[in-house]
């Protein structure tokens, strides 16, 4: 039963990750909700403990020690307050989970660019890792598709295809490929593999017949693409969450108890992050991109004009996947961000040694510079993948005028726009734990290439998952904590979009802040850092051919937020190109100096 939000003053939230369970305490202090303490303990899903609640209890016990408030009962469960005056216990306990590899799904749709893509969007939005997308036109022959399905061991399968009232044959064919392939679930023999059908409603009888034998648990929901022009992902996403709780979580050790403890449904971690970013974008009326770079994967979330998208780049990460980043980007691309002399053969061995011993940390300045260079490429590649996925619906009929005949734009344009982006939020070890905030800001700018005015922030202790679940039950508390405690503001980047020509000016600028002011001309390939404190009034006049949001050559005057870094002026133009060789090294060294990345 939903609790009365006015009676929730103390909240314990946990995020059960693959290796660490992170707990935070949120309290109502002086009229606002604040995150007051945090603690962590190793996750205990794997043997010999095999009970996730042990790790949760350990993390909450640490929280109890730090806060002085008793939170764990004698029987090891989370203690609840008897009344609002009681000094011990909490009013609500919530949790997210990505332990045990998170939620892994296979999705299928008739047309790769249409229903299959919508199905993938639904799965990713719900917080899943999409192992493969099967489509009638994915260029694999049917027996290759069958072979692939047999190799995968998903937690569940989502099938879509056909618009309501349209053709039923293609989607039935797809089901007829999947059923005899008998994909085996990850959690072993006695588990009936859940199949969620969210396709043409007229195909339901045929689909039900196809999956009636063979040990499947079929769930039929509304079509996620009822017409070509409309995506309707809500019911499919909700069913994915339900199945995640009923089947996947129920098979993971100790989750039955965790589910019983929690006052809101346990969400997959990335699903919760997506929810909080959507809430923020909606609340502030802005466009947001969030990134979480881990050891194995990188998640990118975006909300542009209210449209939410999430991608998981499965093999772009900083430890387990570091070698793959170098392979995919190419060592040359990684090394263009390095201003020091390094031996490539030696670096290749270092990368592999990090891969096989993933917990090590850079000790030397050179190792840090190289690791941050790899992270720029991992983030850049993940963002490229995200932009290609976060598009307008494809296959939609468009009315075109004669004027449009000269435009090259097709349906399926990316929703992600560097110029429209207002806030870029970073999380994940290499970004959160960089020795200097300037380094975090620099990695973000180099990888995401924001245009115009963009605020930069980081979620230093990865609190977004907790707040995502909290937002489902107490939106105000989630928003207040997000604004006050979750985000560490780094500052603002102003980057005129346009082609920078060496030796030519890019924009004139002036800035006034409390206790100071400055003005000047930003030259091509120049970076500049202004320590502006919390806020500044700025006026920028881009040169002809450059745009900071008002249009080419149009001046913009506005207030910008500072932070622990300040205001960064980026005169390198867009798209960003870094020459190789000595010239590139000279430029990268100059940018590092301008942004005070590595002070002596």
């Amino acid at each position: 039963m939903q609790k009365d939000p006015s009676r929730i003053k103390v909240v314990v939230a946990t995020d059960c990750g693959s290796t660490t369970t992170k707990a935070i305490l949120i309290e109502f202090v002086d009229g606002v909700y604040r995150q007051t303490h945090r603690a962590e303990a190793p996750t205990t899903v794997e043997a010999p403990f095999a009970d996730v609640t042990l790790g949760v209890a350990n993390a909450v016990t640490e929280l109890q020690e730090l806060s002085g408030r008793r939170l764990v009962d004698d029987d090891g469960t989370i203690l609840r307050r008897a009344s609002l005056d009681a000094a011990d216990g909490c009013d609500m306990y919530i949790s997210t989970s990505s332990a045990g590899g998170g939620l892994q799904m296979m999705v299928a749709g008739v047309v790769k660019e249409m229903t299959a893509e919508s199905a993938k969007r639904a799965a990713l939005g719900a917080g899943a890792i999409v192992m493969d997308t099967i489509a009638s036109n994915d260029r694999r022959r049917p027996h290759e598709q069958v072979q692939r399905i047999r190799e995968l061991r998903p937690d569940m399968v989502l099938i879509s295809g056909g618009t309501d009232g349209g053709d039923t044959k293609k989607v039935t064919e797809l089901a007829e490929l999947i059923a005899p392939a008998k994909p085996r679930p990850r959690f072993g023999g006695e588990y009936s593999l859940p199949i969620i059908f969210a396709g043409n409603r007229d195909a339901r009888p045929a689909i039900e017949r196809t999956f009636s034998t063979g040990g499947f648990d079929l769930k039929v929901v509304d079509n996620l693409r009822p017409t070509l022009e409309r995506e309707h992902l809500g019911p499919a996403r909700e069913t994915i969450h339900d199945v995640f709780l009923e089947h996947v979580m129920a098979h993971a050790p100790g989750y039955d108890r965790l589910i019983a403890w929690a006052d809101a449904p346990i969400m997959p971690t990335p699903g919760a992050v997506g929810d909080i970013l959507q809430a923020i974008a909606k609340g502030r009326g802005i466009n947001v991109v969030g990134v979480d770079i881990g050891g194995a994967t990188t998640d990118v979330f975006s909300v542009f004009d209210g449209s939410f998208n999430r991608t998981v780049s499965a093999n772009l990460g900083m430890s387990y996947s570091i070698s793959n980043v170098c392979a995919e980007a190419g060592m040359e691309s990684v090394l263009r961000w390095v201003h020091l002399d390094m031996d490539e053969r030696e670096l290749r061995n270092r990368v592999k040694n990090k891969m096989i011993r993933p917990t090590t940390i850079p000790q030397t300045h050179e190792a840090l510079v190289f690791e941050q260079a790899v992270s720029r490429e991992a983030l850049r590649l993940a963002y490229v993948q995200h932009k290609a996925f976060a598009t307008e619906l494809k296959g939609v009929q468009q009315q075109r005028t004669v004027g449009d005949a000269f435009s090259q734009e097709e349906s399926g344009r990316s929703l992600v726009s560097g110029m429209k982006l207002d806030l870029l939020v970073a999380s994940g070890g290499v970004l959160s734990h960089a020795p200097r905030m300037e380094q975090t800001a620099s990695m973000l700018i180099d990888a995401f290439e924001p245009e115009g005015f963009t605020e930069l922030a980081k979620d230093s202790i990865f609190m977004m998952p907790h707040l995502g679940v909290l937002a489902t039950v107490h939106e105000r508390a989630a928003m207040e904590v997000f604004e006050r405690d979750c985000l560490v503001m780094l500052g603002t980047c102003i980057a005129p979009a346009g082609t920078a020509v060496a030796g030519k000016p890019v924009m004139r600028w002036s800035a006034r802040w409390e206790g100071g002011s400055a003005e000047g001309t930003l030259m091509a390939q120049e970076m500049r850092l202004l320590r502006i404190g919390e806020r500044a009034q700025v006026e920028v006049t881009p040169e002809r051919g450059f745009d900071v949001g008002g249009g080419p050559g149009v001046a913009v005057k506005r207030e910008v937020r500072g932070g622990s870094v300040g205001l960064i002026l980026d005169g390198r133009g867009r798209s960003l190109s870094v020459p190789g060789g000595a010239e590139g090294r000279r430029l990268v060294a100059a940018w590092a100096k301008a942004l005070e990345l590595y002070p002596d």
């Binding site: 069958v146 064919e173 061995n349 940390i361 000790q363 020795p435």
Partner: protein
């Protein structure tokens, strides 16, 4: 007490080893509790369902899907051979009939009247699981597999490629710091598990493949050589299915790196003994490291050991450790001091550190995350 990460790599002259041998799905167990088995004996087998080959029969016959079941020349459930006629159209007044031949051999599994698709299920594929180590069957796991136990000498590597291999141990490098070159590999090494010293060169690996060496175990490998061997850059450390004609196990890491003297001495002491090797490595949750298993002749008791797995061990003054990150990557030493407060590293990060007295007499400060315990 301070803890240090160790990938749980065991180097032990005697350990009670349990090989948990599982089928990918349920099947038949060919051994009984208490049976004595050899490493290459089959302990369980099953048949994987054959591949499915779909045929879009309504398109091939140019007919409506609902007509397909009636146009099959053999009923569903019948055996069919590749190129055998499987269906025929009615034609026009009995003329101009179209005959479709099966594109695969197997059994006709289904014929859909809503899509016109016919599925042919290929012959079942037998899968056998061997004992991997000689020993005694101590547990039968229902119809999924069996556990074979023995006292063995065990060496876990840090990284490997290729699957299970068997053969006698042969020593190619007399000293652990000796690089494994092609010239060290001779024709009598065919079928052997060859022990090198420091880095194995690409020429040595190619020579070993040419001569039919079963596996190589050495201290290091150059990433450029691994890439040349695989034909691609290895992106993530999930290996075991490579088909390069040999199994490789690296005990220390990438680059020019000497095999730990203790590891080399242990392997050398078993020259000529039968051993089993698995190069499969998985560095993710549920970590799996490559192994060299040498069953011991006598069955005295040892400490129980099942598989690898990351563990945390206690760090105290005098604990032997290996530095696992540059600038002292691969250096061996002992813990000399464990300062409590975090220190600022050369990178600018703050981290908890320790002081290591290196074997060459140097005393260096490294982050605690960058050492591993080397006691086996």
């Amino acid at each position: 007490m301070a803890k240090a990460y160790t990938p749980g790599l065991t180097v032990s002259s005697r350990v009670r080893y349990r090989a948990r041998r599982l089928l990918p799905l349920t099947g038949r167990i060919t051994v009984k509790l208490g049976d004595r088995v050899k490493a290459t004996d089959v302990v369980a087998q099953t048949d994987l369902e054959g591949d499915i080959t779909p045929m879009k029969m309504s398109n091939l016959l140019s007919c409506a899907p609902r007509d397909v079941p009636g146009l099959l020349l053999k009923p569903v459930g019948s055996a069919i051979a590749k190129d055998e006629a499987i269906a025929q159209s009615k034609g026009i007044f009995g003329m101009m009939k179209v005959t479709v031949k099966a594109t695969a051999s197997g059994t006709i599994e289904s014929a859909s009247d809503s899509t016109g698709m016919v599925m042919i299920r290929g012959a079942a594929q037998p899968v056998q699981v061997r004992a991997f180590t000689s020993g005694r069957v101590v547990e039968v796991l229902g119809s999924e597999g069996a556990v074979v136990e023995n006292d063995v000498a065990l060496v876990q590597g840090i990284f490997g490629i290729g699957g299970e291999a068997y053969g006698p141990i042969a020593i190619a490098c007399a000293r652990p710091e000796e690089r494994l070159e092609a010239s060290s590999i001779r024709s009598e090494h065919a079928g052997c598990i060859l022990v090198g010293g420091a880095r194995m060169t690409i020429d040595a690996i190619r020579r070993a493949i040419e001569l039919g060496v079963a596996a190589i175990v050495s201290g290091g490998i150059d990433d450029a050589d691994l890439k040349a061997l695989l034909g691609h850059d290895l992106g993530v450390a999930i290996t075991g299915s490579e088909k390069v004609g040999i199994t490789l196990v690296v005990t220390e890491g990438f680059g020019d790196i000497t095999m730990a003297a203790r590891t080399h001495a242990l392997l050398a002491s078993h020259a000529g003994h039968a051993a089993s090797v698995n190069g499969a490595t998985q560095i993710r949750a549920g970590v799996m490291r490559p192994e060299i298993v040498i069953p011991l002749a006598d069955e005295a008791s040892g400490d129980a050991h099942v598989g690898g797995g990351a563990t945390a061990g206690e760090l105290t003054i005098g604990t032997p450790v290996r530095v696992i990150r540059d600038p002292w990557f691969g250096a061996l030493g002992t813990v000399a001091a464990l300062p409590e407060p975090p220190a600022v590293l050369g990178s600018g990060s703050k981290a908890r550190v320790l002081e290591v007295a290196l074997a060459d007499g140097q005393r260096v400060t490294v982050p605690r995350a960058n050492v591993e315990l080397i006691a086996g």
